[in-house]
């Protein structure tokens, strides 16, 4: 996932990760990798949500 990946795609990927973990069909190693990927996406998402400074610029 890149910085320009849409928010909805990031959310969808995390949802998929959660479903995979909830299915319980993953090894401990895979679960750890999925968790790390999800946390990275969520951290990235937090940065994405900080879009600007709320400035009002008269042109």
């Amino acid at each position: 996932m890149s910085e320009n990946t849409p928010v909805s795609d990031k959310v969808e990927r995390v949802e998929t990760i959660i479903e995979q973990l909830e299915d319980g069909e993953v090894s401990l190693e895979e679960a750890q990798e999925l968790r790390e990927e999800g946390q990275e996406i969520l951290a990235d998402l937090e940065e994405t949500l900080a879009v600007g400074d709320g400035e009002i610029l008269e042109q």
Binding site: P6, V11, E22, Q39, L42, I56, Q59
Partner: protein, 412 residues
């Protein structure tokens, strides 16, 4: 014209003796209107616009060639009208010109309305709409999706309008961090079309802008007509940047609404072009919590499964080993028992044989004893017999001797 209702100080300060108040001016206008019968006409023709009811009276504007006059039909005359005007009607109005002094405004007090057909502007509107439709600019397929999270919004509106305040407030209420660039443009009047087009075009060239918004507050229908102009609509339809339009009130519809990628109802609804920051943050937090929960559940499930497997394996190994030991024990017990039995059997056999031998020996002994007894008996009997024979012989000898002696003595 000197006037007595202005203070002498004011007259002196202005260096003029022709100074009047609004009240005086309005009185004078009223007199002019009343004194000029040439202002009275049988009918005044124009397009009905902004028809509305208020306090039981029907109000509308009579518009022709960008000029208009307010008309009012008082409630008592409402039902007697030849035709009830609507916004698409070209009408002839019969009535009396009235000057309302408190506000300095002229109105036609309508006595009757005659429907003259479709309004001029309705024709123009229909033609514009037809042109845009013919080019496919009103088709939904032409519309772009709005960015789900715009970082910068380009707002084209009147800089000192309530619409600007409402739109900025609405956007920042939903997403405070969004930057807003504002292009000041008249939204009605002779320069509005060009200024609106310039604003949209400039923002479309600005690569930092993610969505362009045009908005203005409500107003008379005729003041919204700029937003039905095809040049503006074509510019809106052909931008590379997604566009959103919110003109007037909820029930106001313009062609600009139709060609824009997104329509919102009023400037207050301009915030709809951005998501709610709080919602996204809440969703992100919930995802983080769900991710942690799902991970912990997955790990716990996996550990529980491993623990169960370990227990099962241990029980299986121990059980198997115990079974082996039990089998060995049983076999050992069997073997021991069999050995014991065999030994006992052997002992029994030996004892039996010993017993048999002793029995046989005893029998032999008994036989020997019997034989010895028989032999002793025989010997005894033989001895007796011999003794008897000896006695018999002795007796016989004695007899013979007796006989011999008897014979010797008897036979003489």
């Amino acid at each position: 014209m000197a006037n007595a209702d202005v203070t002498t100080d004011a007259v002196a300060e202005l260096d003029s003796d022709d100074v009047v108040t609004v009240a005086t001016l309005n009185d004078e206008i009223s007199e002019v209107i009343e004194d000029h019968p040439e202002l009275e006409h049988d009918y005044v023709v124009g397009d009905a616009s902004d028809c509305r009811e208020s306090n039981g009276h029907l109000h509308f504007d009579l518009v022709f060639d960008s000029r208009s006059i307010h008309c009012v039909v008082f409630g008592v005359r409402h039902k007697s009208l030849n035709a009830v005007p609507d916004d698409e009607m070209h009408v002839a109005v019969r009535g009396e010109l009235s000057y309302y002094e408190p506000q300095g405004s002229c109105s036609l007090i309508v006595e009757d309305v005659v429907n003259m057909g479709e309004s001029e502007y309705s024709k123009i509107y229909a033609e514009n709409k037809e042109k845009l439709a013919a080019d496919g600019l009103l088709d939904d397929e032409q519309k772009q999706s709005l960015p789900e999270l715009p970082a910068t919004v380009g707002l084209v509106t009147s800089a000192d309008s309530d619409a600007r305040i409402d739109a900025v407030t609405a956007i920042h209420d939903r997403y405070p961090e969004v930057d807003i660039k504002i292009h000041d443009a008249n939204v009605q009047g002779p320069t509005a079309l060009q200024e609106l087009i310039s604003g949209v075009a400039a923002f479309d060239e600005d690569t930092t802008i993610d969505v362009i918004i045009i908005t203005r507050g409500g107003g008379a229908d005729k003041t919204l007509r700029t937003f039905n102009e095809t040049p503006l609509c074509r510019v809106l339809a052909n931008t590379d940047t997604p566009t959103a339009v919110g003109i007037g009130h909820e029930d106001d519809r313009t062609l600009a609404d139709g060609v824009a990628d997104f329509r919102f109802m009023t400037p207050t609804h301009a915030g709809e072009v951005v998501p709610k920051r709080a919602d996204l943050e809440r969703e992100r937090t919930q995802l983080a919590e769900r991710l942690d929960t799902a991970y912990q559940s997955a790990v716990e499930a996996k550990l529980t499964a491993s623990e169960t497997a370990l227990d099962n394996a241990y029980e299986s190994v121990v059980g198997s080993r115990l079974q082996e030991l039990e089998s060995s024990l049983v076999h050992a017990a069997d073997r021991h028992t069999e050995a014991e039995i065999l030994e006992l059997r052997n002992q029994l056999e030996t004892a039996y044989q010993t017993l048999e031998q002793e029995k046989e020996h005893e029998e032999q002994l008994e036989e020997t004893v019997e034989e010895v007894r028989d032999e002793a008996k025989s010997e005894a009997e033989a001895k007796v017999a011999r003794q008897q024979r000896r006695y018999k012989i002795a007796i016989a000898v004695l007899v013979l001797i007796v006989l011999g002696l008897a014979a010797l003595y008897v036979i003489p």
